[in-house]
């Protein structure tokens, strides 16, 4: 199954984000070996050069480390993985606030709405393991 990619953003930046999510969500755990560029490209149905570019970006962020013997592995620095998780969360929250502002809500109103929504969800037995597996 090809990865779900947006039509209007550069492909490589979307690949970076999807792989980050795969690492954060534990599909690839700290210290795991990643599949080869070609395998990942085939899985995502994208160009191998683009996948290469995305992985290089992740390497620059130190989330992925290239080892001469075992190929590419996920960093064992769990602190970094958490930071990445936080960073992504912040990004999503910012986007969310921007959208809600557009809808005319103030920060306090948004917070109370979110709180309401969270209570509703936890009453219906929602937990984070039920998150949609958008990235797979």
């Amino acid at each position: 199954m090809a990865w779900n990619l947006n039509a209007d953003k550069p492909i490589y930046s979307q690949l970076v984000e999807i792989i980050q999510i795969q690492i954060i969500s534990g599909r690839y755990k700290a210290g795991d070996r990643l599949p080869s560029v070609r395998e990942l490209a085939a899985e995502a149905s994208v160009n191998p050069n683009t996948m290469q570019k995305a992985l290089a970006e992740l390497e620059r962020n130190c989330l992925i480390i290239t080892q001469r013997t075992s190929g590419r592995i996920v960093t064992e620095d769990t602190e970094l993985i958490h930071r990445t998780q936080k960073h992504l969360a912040e990004e999503h929250i910012q986007n969310f606030f921007r959208t809600m502002n557009g809808l005319g809500y103030s920060a306090e109103e948004i917070l109370s709405l979110v709180k309401e929504a969270a209570e509703k969800l936890s009453n219906s037995g929602f937990s984070h393991t039920d998150l949609p597996k958008g990235a797979e």
Binding site: L5, A7, A41, A42, V46, N47, N49, T50
Partner: protein, 232 residues
């Protein structure tokens, strides 16, 4: 490294009709390139000239420094948009045929692809459906370790499963010294696997740029960009 192919001032005229008009193009190595354009824009004419099946009216084509001829044919794997196999042959005879003529042919790869698609080796070609014949042709072409793969409309008229198989085959076959050029008018199906795109209209080069550059510069997919450009 030198460019894989250099095309200069290429022109093909049929009487008063000009199919390809003074085209200049450089094809680098290690890329998957989409050759895009509406029907009748000159894609197939260009491809046939690169393969030496059409004689240019003017201009030059150099592949690995050679004009189209035995040296270039040994290094180009070409999938035309029609069935060129003789129907009396068996699938395994065809594998032998390709093995005999193309030094870069990988027999094992061909057989493993044939079995993964459940195509019987001993079947006569004429007993196979049109779709299966096209798959046999694709497998034979993709089983070569050529420098340049030229696939003319490989995904037109195939079912989604076959299309995914074709795209996977192209990705799996990719290597950094070879380039793959595929022509199509169905861009959205393939744009994710492309490095760069070549737009042709009325036999002239309109654009040649990386896919991500189009997305960054115009904030839209290649498909949407293409529709915008040609919507007149």
């Amino acid at each position: 490294m030198e460019a894989l192919a250099e095309i200069r001032g290429l022109t093909k005229a049929y009487g008063n009709t000009i199919a390809v008009n003074n085209l200049n193009l450089i094809i680098p190595r290690g890329r998957i390139i989409g050759l895009l354009g509406p029907n009748g824009s000159g894609k197939t004419t260009l491809i046939k000239m690169i393969n030496g099946l059409l004689t240019p009216t003017a201009g030059s084509i150099l592949i690995n420094g050679f004009p189209p001829g035995p040296e270039t044919k040994a290094r180009i794997a070409y999938l035309p948009e029609r069935t060129y196999l003789q129907s009396g042959m068996k699938v395994c005879d065809l594998v032998d045929f390709f093995q005999d003529f193309y030094e870069d042919f990988n027999r094992d790869r061909a057989f493993s692809m044939l079995s993964s698609l459940n195509i019987p080796f001993t079947a006569q070609l004429k007993t196979l459906s049109k779709g299966t014949k096209e798959k046999v042709q694709l497998i034979l072409v993709m089983s070569r370790n050529a420098d340049l793969f030229i696939l003319d409309e490989p995904i037109a008229g195939v079912d989604p499963a076959a299309r995914d198989y074709i795209l996977k085959t192209i990705i799996n076959n990719y290597n950094e010294n070879a380039s793959i050029m595929l022509s199509t008018h169905l861009i959205s199906d393939i744009e994710n696997i492309l490095d760069e795109v070549i737009f042709i209209r009325d036999g002239q080069l309109l654009t040649h740029m990386p896919v991500d550059q189009i997305r960054e510069q115009y904030g839209q997919s290649v498909d949407a960009y293409f529709r915008g450009v040609f919507a007149c």
